[in-house]
Amino acid sequence: MAPIDRHECEWVREHLDAFLDGADSDLAAGDSERVARHLASCAECRAESAFAQRVRAGLRGMEMTAAPAAVIERAEREIGSTRGRVVALRPRGGMRRWAPAIAAAAVLVVVATWSERSRRAQAERVAVEQAAREAAVAFAYLNKYAQRTGDIVEADVIGRRFVAPVEKAMEKTGVAETKPSPDES
């Protein structure tokens, strides 16, 4: 009987899980054959492989726990009680992380409009349109992130918190007056 190669045992155990992944395995064909060859000749590693398979089967046999009926009822009641009302922007978790970026976007819009104040009306219109596009991108990003985290950001809250102050600033600078009238556009 050939002596056990401990280095080979270590290598095989390091790659055992990938080997047991079967169809999902990203083990190279040569490595897979190497593991199989070693298992055929090493009783200890064969036992380890059998144990690993049993643990996997045990884990996969663990059922998911159903959500308690009371929890589902509570969620249903909460949804019913908040239907139709405006949900405030919650400055927590991911939202808080993006607050500086949102503020920076708003400041950018205002600065961009101010810097254009002294230029001709046409140039101001271009700047305002560009600023509006940048703001739209920022808000779209914010909404996408909020959706990822499940935070609720209602459109009118965004309007009230971010768009309105920018518009107000634009009015103060006189930029808003340079916007094209419906007849012009």
């Binding site: 899980d17 990938a18 999902d24 990203d26 144990f51 690993a52 049993r54 643990v55 996997r56 045990g58 884990l59 996969r60 046999g61 663990m62 998911m64 726990t65 159903a66 959500a67 308690p68 009371a70 929890v71 589902i72 509570r74 969620a75 249903e76 909460e78 949804i79 019913g80 239907r83 927590r92 978790g93 991911g94 959706q147 990822r148 985290t149 499940g150 609720i152």
Partner: protein
């Protein structure tokens, strides 16, 4: 509303609750998280890509678990009754994993072993082995590259086997 909400709750409620329960280890906290995720799922149901709903649900659950853990100043990966869990492992494994399998105590031993895993090992193991999430979905939920997910899963599996064998006390590396 009621029927559609119930359908969503039936489809995803168990998945949410199970993940929250494994990650938090406290039933009341898991229930709160489940309620919140179900409410958010309902509010966002029209904006979520149906093919991504499972991943979305796991992602929001995990994020809320992290929030809850921070709020309660506890580690996400610690069972509140960790001492009891340690005794359970020692008793159920009894120095012989085979015996644990044979006498039907494997489930208890596995739960205790999972409770010993730190994050993100625990989330990844639970999502892959118990909840049957694909590697790709787990990568999306955890915002990790696919290869990193596989490495973490490999370490988590080895760690679970080590705990079952020895009842070791420290978390995954």
């Amino acid at each position: 509303m009621s029927r559609e909400f119930r359908r969503l709750a039936d489809e995803h409620g168990g998945r949410i609750y199970t993940l929250a329960l494994y990650l938090l280890g406290r039933r009341e906290d898991a229930e709160d998280v489940t309620q919140e995720v179900l409410v958010r799922l309902w509010r966002y149901r029209d904006r979520i890509d149906p093919a991504r709903t499972r991943a979305w649900v796991a992602q929001v659950t995990r994020n809320l678990v992290i929030d809850v853990s921070r709020q309660k100043r506890m580690r996400a990966a610690v069972f509140a009754d960790g001492a009891d869990m340690e005794e359970t492992v020692a008793a159920s494994v009894d120095a012989s994993p085979d015996r644990a399998v044979m006498n039907g105590e494997l489930r208890t031993a596995l739960e205790a072993a999972i409770a010993r895993l730190d994050e993100p090992y625990r989330s990844i193991l639970v999502m892959r082995e118990i909840q049957d999430y694909s590697y790709q979905e787990i990568a999306s939920v955890t915002s990790m590259p696919l290869g990193t997910v596989k490495v973490y899963l490999h370490r988590a599996r080895r760690r679970v086997r080590d705990v079952l064998r020895t009842g070791a006390h420290d978390g995954a590396d």
